[in-house]
Symmetry: C2
């Protein structure tokens, strides 16, 4: 059954969104938060009212998988970040690509790169388009045109090696299609970012996406066994190896390259057997820092839970997981091989050492209680954002990491800076909440959500003022501009402050070696 | 108490080596292997008979930590590989550095780089000098002179962060000094390569060294939290973070760069608490492939043993761990946090599924029985090599990795190719044995040892013929030229075949950005 096409504005496919009940819940929560009735102040742009410039370059007939149709160009103008939605609401589609290519194989990817080089068009690789940091918006700069390469026709699992538990998967494979093709083999990638339904393997790798596992396999990086990347100068393929010490890793140069070095066309990925044993549940703590201390104990114990995330009291309340008086830990172990009881038992002891009080426990606990409520809210979150913005609400997230020794001071500095920025930008109190998405023996990856009530015609600038203050604080206090959302164009000014200048020189030189014309995603990560 | 100085030839410090008893054992084993009495055919070069060319460059008086003394130049001409020993036996010291610098801090490292650039001298960073692949031999190429920077004066643990379990450690810190400085804090790096006593943190990082842990933390890579590297264009410092998704990792460019991009002066390293709980022991299997199947089961079970190494029957016999009729697994779990009984129990079940029969078990089992015998032989191995070569014996190791689906065919192809090459090169049957040093869910890291009886005046060329055939087979059958010994100059021809050509272009460009004159280790990893 053919699926509905992707929305040109907002999350997911046409026809998808919040139910009336969910929408009412989300709006009511926002009204309670800001202490005022919300008014609908904008409407999502319909296709017909979107004006696009005439295509400045046109694909030749020899590339029949390319199009300059209105829908395709409009739908590839923006990613899914708040800035994207805000700009689309102003009906500003000046950055629309001239051509969208849907190559069906690697040689068609190479053909597009060849043609774009001759036509002096920039090239934006595009997976599911779920970037929340300006990573998929075309950027023409001083080139003649802009081409987007959408990899969705390259969505096959080509080979499964059950012995080594690995599979060769095409870069344009969406999350659900990837898991569906692996399932008959009894294996799974188990990489479930929030964007799982609408993001692709190639996108996960290009952005160093973070997934399901809260420990050990936090980023997609660890699952990459080898890569094939098409660059303007040809194809770069690494050797399929479980581990190597032969020079700097070629894969680690491509992982996180955000489309500036080439188009990731396929990868051998490390898989898991499907879990058969599970244990988990939610644990309540008196406050966030106390919960964080329990997380630190678990992360340094060598237990490696699949889930060990904490929500601060406000975030637990916002997602319906608790009443606002306690912090919540969502804890889970899973295994395809053995009963995880001893692991869970020891993790619970770590929690008890910090006053943690368990809710329900058991194999289905990850779907029940506070853990289940939070999980559902997490998955539906992107749909809420596109509704709230129509009512003047500014809400967004940013995520980082920091070592344990600096965490508490860091948390307070970021939270205060963001709260102050909200007040300054909007003249009204907002809310900043925090959770951990991933944890390491040496520190957590805190994930902040902020809520502000803006003015309908100033949402973009108000958002930018808040986000800038937040990221200023993140960088000044020693964090990273992104733990797993990527840099894109939105985070670039802060990435520039974080990234060692000499590394920028080295990366720029490497890019020039692979993309001499500077066609690929100009302005992402580095300037040419 | 001041330590004896490092030997100018062979392993370790002056006065160290095999005991008479160990030497007799090693020689008797070799005689039994080759079925002939061994004759001493060479003597180690004494300092006085080593002739060095006049220094072609001289350090200025402003760099008083530099020297051109005879001992320092002779002792920095070679690493500890077989090729190094063989060349030194011919009294060929043509590649001796002109100057050896012992900088005491980062600004002195920078000063040496500045001076070397002006003097047109190449620069070889030098840690403990234990490279077994030609990684520390100076290479002048078409430059005027050659300078070696020995980091041994930069050996301090500068800061310990117990909360995040991390420490800031200088690049020239030797293994024992590193652990001794961490011990009072109750923490440990637990990176114990065979070269532990005579290798440094900076060397481990520059070569992607492999250490203690057979799973998870197989390479030093995983322990690196951040790095400082002095390049000819300035200092590159990455941010101290538990995890990041901000672009390609700057650290991953430096890790494995083998001195071609800069000198690693300090690193924040992730640590472990000292283990309190241990369980382990040796397990016997009927043959190597059966043992390998048990290893695969354990590696894919998510148990993460600290040790899970297997020796084939011949290797188990050679090291005194078994009688030659069985393969041996050395299995161990350790934890600072919890009893590892449940982990060990499940790993034993995996062994039993493949007919594994346990020897002794328990907390001290890693020091007893077959496991302990093997461990001792492993540590003393380098001393044996320098004795055996004086009797015409060629013995060396090479290590690789391969996915499980290809392992058995791979193993047989490599073993056969190496055995045939021994026969062809020496006219006599030799021996090739195999063990696993590290394991991954998607494949093992097999480590091969070969023994041949050569002709005293042909040892270097015979060694090269054997090693070349072995590495030809490794590369042709899909393996990596090195899993943790590094590339150096010895492995370069095969690395060139393994490394994607476009990655070589990118790396070359990155090097040029950081080292425009091409001073650092020319010819290692890439040509300028």
């Amino acid at each position: 059954m053919p699926q509905a096409r992707m929305k040109h504005f907002g999350w997911g496919r046409e026809g998808e969104g919040l139910s009336a009940e969910e929408e009412a819940f989300v709006l009511a929560r926002a009204e309670a938060r800001f202490g005022t009735k919300l008014q609908a102040s904008a409407t999502a742009p319909v296709l017909d009212e979107i004006k696009l410039h005439e295509p400045r370059v046109k694909a030749p007939a020899s590339l029949p998988f390319c199009t300059s149709d209105h829908y395709d160009r409009a739908a590839h103008t923006y990613g899914k970040g708040y800035q994207d939605l805000a700009r689309a609401l102003t009906r500003d589609y000046a950055d629309a690509p001239d051509v969208v290519a849907y190559p069906r194989n690697e040689s068609e990817v190479a053909a597009v790169l060849d043609w774009a080089g001759g036509a002096d068009a920039t090239v934006t690789p595009y997976g599911g388009g779920s970037s929340v940091c300006g990573g998929v918006s075309p950027f023409r700069k001083n080139h003649k045109g802009a081409v987007t390469i959408d990899l969705r026709e390259m969505g096959k699992v080509r080979e499964v090696d059950k012995t080594s538990r690995a599979a060769l998967i095409e870069g344009g494979t969406y999350g659900p299609a990837l898991e569906a093709q692996l399932k008959p083999h009894g294996v799974t990638l188990r990489h479930f970012p929030q964007s799982f339904e609408y993001s692709t393997l190639g996108g996960w790798i290009a952005t160093r996406g973070g997934g399901h596992f809260a420990t050990l396999y936090t980023h997609i990086d660890e699952f990459v066994e080898s890569l094939r990347t098409v660059t303007p100068r040809g194809t770069l393929e690494s050797r399929r190896l479980p581990g190597s010490g032969a020079g700097p890793s070629p894969d680690r140069m491509m992982i996180g390259s955000e489309g500036i070095l080439g188009v990731i066309t396929q990868a051998w990925m490390r898989l898991q057997d499907r879990p058969k044993f599970r244990d988990g549940g939610a644990v309540q703590f008196k406050d966030f820092f106390t919960a964080a201390r329990a997380v630190r104990a678990i992360s340094q114990a060598g237990l490696y839970p699949s889930n060990c995330r904490i929500l601060d009291p406000a975030e637990a309340y916002n997602t319906g997981a608790a009443d606002g008086s306690v912090a919540i830990m969502v804890l889970a172990f899973e295994s395809a091989d053995h009963d995880v009881g001893p692991w869970m038992k020891r993790a619970r002891e770590c929690c008890a050492d910090h006053g943690g009080v368990p809710e329900a426990s058991g194999a289905e606990a990850h779907l029940a209680g506070a853990a289940g409520v939070w999980r559902n809210a997490f998955i539906r979150m992107p749909y809420a954002m596109e509704k709230l913005i129509l009512h003047g609400v500014i809400n967004d997230t940013f995520e980082t990491s920091i070592t344990w020794d600096r965490f508490e001071k860091f948390h307070d500095a970021i939270k205060t800076a963001t709260e102050n920025a909200i007040h300054e930008a909007t003249g009204r109190k907002g809310q900043v909440t925090c959770r951990f998405t991933h944890i390491y023996p040496d520190g957590p990856a805190p994930y902040f959500t902020f809520h502000a009530l803006g003015e309908p015609d100033k949402l973009g600038t108000q958002w930018l003022a808040i986000k800038s203050a937040a990221l200023d604080a993140v960088i000044a206090n020693g964090g990273t501009v992104t733990h797993h959302h990527a840099v894109g164009r939105d985070h670039r000014p802060w990435y520039d402050r974080q990234r060692p200048p000499l590394f920028a020189d080295a990366l720029r030189a490497a890019k020039k070696a692979l993309d001499p014309q500077g066609l690929l995603n100009p302005g992402v990560l580095i300037d040419p």
